[in-house]
Structures are given as structure tokens and as C-alpha cells.
């Protein structure tokens, strides 16, 4: 479906657009009406720079899509008579970004207060323990959630959405970043079981060590029950009815190898924990987050596990927030790992060196994605815990630290599609794939580039604030000036 609303906002705000057929201006006042008929569901973007995929660039070409599916792309393409044509001169078209994991579109639980008490905290009900693997993001998705638009505006058209919660909140789903209702957004395909090292509040399992044990317990008991069920299904005679509960049943496809575990790790020890469980139990795992996973590059590369790295970067330490890049570099360069102050009177010198070390440490985090690229790990990116406004600034920092633009683009598109077995539908601009596209006025990783349009399954959306400039830096400067 192609909406009038999008067309008209495009005409109003984007001088580069020339609509064949013209639009009656009076319709503008009715842009919120759902009853306005669709003019056409075919779009052609002509004479644009088309980045079909990483290192696959058409300097000038045309892409045509109908009913949300790309029907043609190339240097010389016949534009259908009924197409809305967008003059792509000076514009660049990319495949829509894929967020490999976030809670975008899942409402925060309303009651964030104190958890209810239970008679025996050593043995709480599953839901109180944060163990609801039978739940699904599909039933929790809110199409009107404000974060969807924010993420869409910075280029994301598809999201692996995971439910919110604690240890095992439920199954994630692939979803489009736009739709009038959740059914329109939900995509067929992989629904991995989301798992994180977040303990229950005041009840078992509270710590990472108990989460490890609980996962083993659930997995191994599910394994037993699955065998029992098979035996019972074959011939129930003489057998007690196998025990049933939704939690263990949700583990069956994981044990059988039919469902991935999508695990979120936000510090290096969690990476080791996740890999320990995977190695021990043998399930299919997608490893995500990996913040601080600088020392785990070789181990992850050796494991061959599919990986999605966080787009988050650590905050600058407070002393550094006010400093300009060249003074930061100067401090960083002054770091001396052999500094040995003689007395307490030198504490200032020691402090300065420690601060320099801190900047050095942060630079390692910024350079982490480049390390994973150099190790040949085809990673995707996740926006979990990152505000949409920080995504492009962080990407630019990573690129400055050595991540290639091709690898960054691959992480946001083809690699993420491959991670979820969706390469046949998304991740690049090719005939037959979904029309998930970003239209920019320059290289998407340049600071002065703006995203002009985002097409989600062929539907146009226009970011209201299109600049990809570093918003967090703006914010930091604003907060500094307020002090």
C-alpha cells in the first residue's frame, strides 16, 4: 500500500521530488483521513546513486518497486506507466537497516515498582522469576510506540524485536519499523528465544551464577520431557502422563535445534558465560551485545557463532566531556603504562595518567567493531540500549577507529539478514526483495548527510529531523552550557 499521506508530505518538504500527475493541494488538509484512496502502489526512484549492497554501487540507476517488492533495479530500467517517479538526482539509495536486537515497539511494563512477594523465594512461580519463554514479542508489539519512528528516522526498516523482562522474557520476532497495526509489522521467519543474564528481583535466580544453573536445569529437564512425550505419543499404554508446562514446552524446539537462543551480553564475562552454556548444551545461539568484548575476538571467531555487536559506546568520563577532540588525543597520547609515582604528593600526576588510561580504554571500545571486522567475523549490529539519536554518531566514531564503511553497511544490512535467515527477502537492493530502502543526500556515514526518505515495505516515511549530525554531542554541549 502506498499512502497519500506520505506522498503529500514528500511533496511539501522535499524539493527534489517531482510527482507525475500532480497532487491536489486541498487533499493536504485531509492527510489524516484513512479513507483517501491509494493513487498507485508503484514507485520508481530514477537516476539515483544506488548502493545495492556493501561495495555494490550503481553510480546512476533506477529502482522500481510495486506492492512493497522491488521489481527492477539497474542502470537502464523501464519505468512502469503507473509509477510515481522520484527524481533521484543527487540522492543515494541504500537498503533499509536491520536492527539485530532491541525492544523497540515493546511498551515498558506499567508497574515498575516493587515486585510482589512470594511465599517461598527459593522457589517462585516462573513468571515472578522472569522466566516466560512461551511469551512472544508478537503479542506485545505496539505500532504506535514512539521509539519505532525514532529508529526508522535513522534508517532502520526491520527490527528483531525481543520482549522486555528478565532472564527469559519470551520469543523475539522480526518486524518492520512501521505499520498501522502489529499484524502489518510482523514478519514471517525466525522467532528466537530471547535470553539475558538479568536476575529476578529478590527471588531465585538472582545472580548470574543462578541464571546459569537455572538455564541448565530448564534445558536438561526439557530434554527429558521431550523424550518422554515422544515415547508417550508413540504408545501411551502403561506410561504416566508426561508432565506439562508452557515453560519447558517452549524449550522443546531449542533442544531439538529448531529454535535459536538469542542471547544478550553487555559485558565481557557474560560473553564467556553464554559461550559456556552453548558449548555445554549444544543449542543454536546468536550472540549479541558483546560490549567490552575486546579480549574475546579470537574466541568468538573460533566459535563460528553468529554475532551482533552493540551500537552503544561507553560515555566519556566526566573530565573528558568538556574537552575537544585534539586535547583528548593529547591526553590519550600522554598515557604511560610504567608511571610509578613515588609519594602521595604525586597523586595529581597519578590521577592524570589514570585518566589518560581511561581514554585509552574507551578508544579500545570504540575500535572493537574494527577488531571483529579484521578477525573476519561477519557481525550485525544491535541498537539495544542505544538511543536512536546516537546511532550514527557512534557509527562514525567506530569508522574513524578503523571500521570500514563496507563492513558497517554490511553489519546493518546483509549480515543482519543472513543472521536471521532472511537474505532472500532483505538486506540488499535486488529484484524480488522487500522494498525496504533509505534515501539520503550523501554517504550515509557522513556527518552532514540527511536521510530524506525511508521506505518500509514500499511505504514512504519522511524523517522530520533528517540530519544525522552527532546528537549526543549536541546534547552534551547543551548540558554543559546549562551548568
Amino acid at each position: 500500500m502506498y499512502s497519500f499521506r506520505g506522498i503529500l508530505r514528500g511533496a511539501a518538504f522535499c524539493a527534489a521530488l517531482v510527482w507525475l500527475g500532480g497532487m491536489p493541494h486541498e487533499a493536504y488538509a485531509q492527510k489524516n483521513s484513512p479513507d483517501i484512496p491509494v493513487v498507485s502502489n508503484v514507485v520508481a526512484i530514477e537516476n539515483a546513486r544506488i548502493v545495492q549492497g556493501p561495495a555494490r554501487v550503481l553510480q546512476s540507476g533506477t529502482v522500481v518497486f510495486r506492492d512493497g517488492v522491488i521489481t527492477a533495479v539497474g542502470r537502464r530500467v523501464d519505468v512502469p506507466y503507473d509509477a510515481h517517479v522520484i527524481d533521484g538526482d543527487s540522492l543515494t539509495v541504500y537498503a533499509g537497516f536491520i536492527d539485530a536486537l532491541s525492544h523497540t515497539g515493546i511498551p515498558e511494563p506499567r508497574n515498575q515498582g516493587q515486585p510482589e512477594s512470594v511465599p517461598d523465594r527459593s522457589n517462585p512461580p516462573f513468571d515472578r522469576a522472569g522466566i516466560t519463554p512461551e511469551a512472544s514479542a508478537r503479542t506485545a508489539l505496539d505500532p504506535d510506540h514512539g521509539d519505532l519512528e525514532k529508529l526508522r528516522n535513522v534508517g532502520f526498516t526491520t527490527i528483531m524485536v525481543a520482549p522486555r523482562g528478565r532472564m527469559l522474557p519470551g520469543q523475539a520476532t522480526m518486524a518492520l519499523s512501521a505499520g498501522t497495526n502489529s499484524s502489518e509489522m510482523i514478519l514471517q521467519g525466525m522467532q528466537p528465544m530471547f535470553f539475558q543474564f538479568t536476575g529476578a528481583q529478590g527471588v531465585y535466580p538472582g545472580t548470574p551464577m543462578a541464571i546459569m544453573s537455572k538455564f541448565r536445569q530448564l534445558y536438561r529437564e526439557a530434554d527429558r520431557r521431550m523424550r518422554l512425550e515422544a515415547m508417550y505419543a508413540e504408545d501411551p499404554s502403561g506410561l504416566a502422563r508426561p508432565p506439562y508446562d508452557a515453560v519447558h514446552e517452549a524449550f522443546f524446539p531449542v533442544v531439538a535445534g529448531d529454535r535459536h537462543v538469542l542471547v544478550w551480553t553487555d559485558e565481557v564475562l557474560e560473553i564467556h558465560r553464554a559461550m559456556t552454556l552453548q558449548e555445554e548444551l549444544g543449542f543454536s545461539m546468536i550472540l549479541t551485545g558483546l560490549e567490552g568484548g575486546i579480549d574475546t575476538v579470537d574466541k568468538v571467531a573460533g566459535s563460528g557463532l553468529p554475532v551482533a555487536l552493540t551500537l552503544d559506546l561507553p560515555d566519556q568520563p566526566r573530565f573528558a566531556a568538556k574537552l575537544k577532540a585534539d586535547s583528548l588525543q593529547h591526553i590519550l597520547d600522554s598515557y604511560d603504562d610504567e608511571t610509578r609515582t613515588a609519594t602521595f604528593r604525586d597523586v595529581e600526576a597519578e590521577k592524570e595518567n589514570l585518566e589518560a588510561r581511561q581514554l585509552w580504554s574507551r578508544s579500545r571500545y570504540v575500535g572493537m567493531a574494527a577488531l571483529y571486522e579484521n578477525a573476519g567475523i561477519p557481525f550485525a549490529f544491535t541498537t539495544m540500549g542505544v538511543s536512536a539519536g546516537d546511532v550514527h554518531g557512534n557509527l562514525r566514531e567506530m569508522i574513524e577507529a578503523g571500521l570500514s564503511r563496507e563492513a558497517a553497511l554490511a553489519a546493518l544490512t546483509v549480515n543482519a539478514a543472513a543472521l536471521f535467515g532472511a537474505s532472500d527477502r532483505m538486506g540488499s537492493i535486488d529484484t524480488g526483495k522487500m522494498a525496504n530502502l533509505i534515501v539520503t543526500d550523501g554517504d550515509v556515514f557522513d556527518e552532514d548527510t540527511s536521510i530524506k526518505m525511508v521506505f518500509v515495505a514500499g511505504q514512504m516515511h519522511e524523517p522530520s529531523n533528517t540530519s544525522l549530525g552527532n546528537r549526543s554531542r549536541d546534547r552534551a554541549e547543551a548540558s554543559t552550557s546549562n551548568q
Binding site: M209, M212, Q316
Partner: protein, 474 residues
Amino acid sequence: MNNTIRLFLIALLTVGFLTSDAHAQDVLVRNATVLTVTNGTLQNTDILIRDGIIAQIGSGLRAPRGAEDVDATGKFVMPGIIDAHAHIALSSVNEGTSPVTAEVSMEDVTNPYSLGIYRASAGGVTVSHIMHGSANVIGGQNETIKHRWGATDPDDIRFDGAPRTIKFALGENPTRVHGRRASGGSGAIVPATRMGVEQVLRSAFENGKRYMEAWDAYNAEASTNPRAVPPVWNERLEVMADILRGEILIHCHSYRADEIVMLTRVLGDYGVDRITFQHANEAFKVAPELAEFGAHASVFSDWWSYKFEVYYSTSYNAAILMRNGVVTSINSDSAELNRHLYHEAAKSQRYGGLTDDEALSMITINPAIQLGIQDRVGSIEIGKDGDIAIFEGHPLSIYTIPVLTYVDGVKVFDRENDADDMRVDVDPSAEVGQYEGQVTGRDHMHSHEEVADLMSFFQSVADVDLPHAHTVND
């Protein structure tokens, strides 16, 4: 399924071996006073460590090409110190939600980035037994680590081949945490008293025994009946069964003589005999009983009166136990005290009139015996691991200074090269001076901190009044 776990453990150990080989180095320590602990004191003696193993002890030894050469003239060399009770290098300590959590393991929360490892090695400590806290009657399984500072993979600091151990706890900690929540109101569960602690132990062992029997019965039936139904899988009881099988050594937090004897009786009833009583401040009162049972003790030199149940003790505790034939060690339970365990041993020597070798054995071979690693570490003997600590001045002297520490022949501490910042990992965002709270560098500092840990844990729980006992540890 048990086999799967065992195979997994074996795989883990194999990986660990390969890793330790990769770290191993050759070192020749020349002309030292060598405190072997098991074979007396050797003057003007050289020690050659090859591939991380003590290869030769003698005089006029020649260094192989490329070996590190250490002139130890006038210095003392002793076996790397072993701390049988530590909470360093852990990212969490207590799973305080249940009186029995045998299934959890410090193996899963081992933190190689912990600065506590380096600080301990600066006190000559090369091996730590990092333990679950004392919130639960049966806490988690512990982990024995080597202080391979600089390693970043938790698997790389494990003591390959060390036996499994588990933490038990008697007395006030578990009764406070579980039995006295909300002043006995909602949420209070057994144990609230020492009677309850015994009952929790007996129930856990009984359940473990039944579980083991149920699996034995199933395995017997499954050989003839393909439709045999396996028992419900239970990670917790798997571990209880392994304790009953004698595969896991018990290390029990304890203070009072009555509760110490109680546990030996419970263990006797279930045929378990491998136990070390930790803290055990009143163990001297029942030293003959402990010796008869074959129990070991790991104690403080002169620290007590920090709460009611440990009101009564003596600085002669260690010596009395030792003289009664109880394998006794001095431990730290602290990321500060572990840096001067040699001094703690000296204090026990001073009070109890122990010989040098007896005093040193309490921080070397005896804790090694208690951890089941005495064939590998704990003394300077050919064939043992190249874990040594070099001191200026006799280590039992108040004036001694640790100067060099080696683990598997790798230098992990050198007083001459001890920069201000020896961290492996640095939090990029925290304020300088506030590193203790960072996730990867977090240490469990002290039993005070252990209590603080629990306090913050309970503060996060809605329906619970704070236990009041935290003041007794301050």
C-alpha cells in the same frame, strides 16, 4: 547424562592444560635460601623451573638458553602461598535466595580481570580458593584459581585438575538471611535456628540420596526396559549426589564447637568424610574429635569478636589444632589480609610456639591438602608447579618484603616493576578513584563486604525488613 557433565569437565580441563602450557616459562633462581616446607631449609640453593614445572633443585645449576635468570643471593624462596578462603576474582558471591543452592558455581562467575588477583600475588599468593558466600546452609560450588595475572578468559585462571569443592555455612549467617526475614514475618523460612540448619542439611542429603537411588534404579531398569522413565532432572540434587559419592570436598563456614560437631555427625550419617571447617574459631575445643573424624580446619590467626557467635576464640587456635593432628591452614577471607598471609602464619607461630616449617605449612602444603592439590603445589619439590614467592628477609619475619612472585614459571609480580596502574581492564566511564564498583573489576573485599552485598541485595527486595545483624560486623 552424568557422563555428559564429566566429559564436559574433562574437556574444560584439557583446554586449561593447553593454556597453562602456553604461559609456561623457564626460570633459574640462583643462590637462594629455599624454604621447601616439606624438606627443610636449603642454603645457597638454585631452583630451575622448566616449562612451568620445578625441574631441578641444587647448586651450580645452569640456565637453559633463554631462561630468565634471577639472582636471589640473600633472598628467601618459598612455595607460592595458597589462600584456602577467598572471594576475589568473582563477579557475584551469594545467591542468597535459597538455603540450598548447591547447583550454582563460582566457576560461572570467575573474573580474571579482578585486581584482587594482582594484589594477592603481591603478597606471594599464587593460588586462591574462591568461594561462594555464607548466606546459605549449602551455598555454591567454589573454584580453585591460579593467579595468572593478565589472563582475560576465566578458563585461563582455573587450577586445572583441582577437585570440586562446595561451600556450606552454619550458624548466624544462614539463619539471619533465611529465617529472620521481616522479623519472622512473611518470607521467613527454615532455618531460623541452629536446629533448623541441621534440618536443612539432613533434608538436602536425604533428597540427594533419594535422587541418586532413583537414577541408579532407572539406569538398571533402562538396560532391560526401553520404556523406563528417567527421574525428573535436578541440577541441585545432582550436586548433592556427587557430594555423597565423595566427588566434592566440603568447605564449611562455621564458628561454634557445637555446630562443628553437629556437622561431623550429619556427615557421618551419610558416609561423607572430606571436610574442611572454615573460620572454626572454636575448633580448638573439639580438636581431638576433628582429628578423629579426619576433618581439616582453615582459620584466622587472631581475629574474632566481630559478631556474637564468634565472641569466643583464641590466638592459640591454629597451634592447638595442629598439635592435635588436624591439618590446619590460615586463610584470609579478605582481599586485604591475603596480601600478608605470611605475617598471619607468623602470628600463629608466635602464639603457639610452632616451628618455621609448621608455620609455613599453614599457608602452603596444608591448604593444598585441603583443596586436594597437594600433588601439584604447596612445597618446593621437583615435579611440582613452578609457583614460588621470593622474599627479602625471612617470610615469617615482621620485616620481610615480598619481591617476586611466579606462577607456572611466569612472573606475575615484581616489586621493581610495579607501576601505579597494573589493571588489565579499565572502566572507560567511571570516575578515577571509583573503580571498585565496575562490573568487570569488582572484588569481594572482605566479609564486611559480603554482608554489605547481602544488605544491598535485600534492599532490592520489596517485602523485607533489613536484617539488623550487619552492625555486628562493623
